[in-house]
Symmetry: C3
Amino acid sequence: MTDPALSARVADFHSAYAEALNHERFAQWPDFFAHEGPCDYRIVSRENHDLNLPAPIMGCYTHGMVKDRVAMLIKGALTYRHMYLRHFITNVRAKRLADDAVAASANLLVMQSDHEGNSSTYMVGRYEDELLPHGDSFQLRKRLVIIDSFSIDTALAVPL
Amino acid sequence: MTDPALSARVADFHSAYAEALNHERFAQWPDFFAHEGPCDYRIVSRENHDLNLPAPIMGCYTHGMVKDRVAMLIKGALTYRHMYLRHFITNVRAKRLADDAVAASANLLVMQSDHEGNSSTYMVGRYEDELLPHGDSFQLRKRLVIIDSFSIDTALAVPL
Amino acid sequence: MTDPALSARVADFHSAYAEALNHERFAQWPDFFAHEGPCDYRIVSRENHDLNLPAPIMGCYTHGMVKDRVAMLIKGALTYRHMYLRHFITNVRAKRLADDAVAASANLLVMQSDHEGNSSTYMVGRYEDELLPHGDSFQLRKRLVIIDSFSIDTALAVPL
């Protein structure tokens, strides 16, 4: 059973996550993931996901890999065409698992805007997450990003 | 008076509805509608709606018609260019009616993605609903889909 | 600390605000702002905001200016190409301030549809608000609209 009150708390987590990425505070990104125990972050195409093809477009399987993912972004060492991004995370549904964990899903739309102020769709997809309680909020022990869009201009320079 | 706690429960219903359509589980779609008593599903253009012109683009006026609406989709007998769809249902507002029913409205954005991974806007519109309690959730006794977009590539092959 | 229950109440306010604008009930718009005391409504570009450049694209600094903002729209005296707009306000986060006020942020996507039914992105941005309790809901004492998009067809004819 999904739980609307729990969903509202997870939605607040998602909004904090979105805000960190939208403001390009990449150094905060690893703290949205569990530091101890399993830690899994993958991006897969919807087509592969539906066919049960496991190969991700990108994957981090430990917290160290999650930190590595944004190391170059934090240093500003990565060269890519800069776009303002904005994450719209909607239709959050959460339910408790057998242990303390929470399973949750949400839809994701990321809009991009260039420096001339032109906006377009950057990404359409879905999160399928497992979260653990952490203080008053949560940390991800697993985030699967299933993307409908994969002809992406900026080649996934920044995390989703 | 709209009721934010009730809105959260209706939002959970909308998310389940969106999930069934996004995953193309069309056989589930009729179960989001009341099986007994009045059952009404219509799609109208915003222009006609604002002018009080009643002719819908599509309408189902009984639960049987709702089931018929997806019969061809379930059989896979309908030929249309396949697109991945994703429903973003936001700004849900719900209030109790005099009987047990709930009146609710929400905004709807449906994004489509083709098999090359290109995403674009499929549909922009609004739901105006009446729902009845059903178990821990709801069923629709009336769903009016008021669409701002109506030059639709796929000619409304699938429900909104 | 953000408060999910408070966020849900603010989201209901945002949905009422969006609904008034989507239905072009411009005469209602000033009532979403505090009539007494400070009243501030500004639109700034994201670039200027990030650089701490204060010049807004548009600003109202009193409730009288807020009323003036829509006076021409109410009279129908403003000539612009009419588009149907629809506001998607998501990822609402609210927290209480020291006094009775509430600070809140949200993401904003406005889609536009022309009379031929073609939909496109009108605006991507973010609200940063301060709200005061008002009856069962709120009024804005400050609304900052930070816009990622600024090459806008209709030149900001209507409020955001």
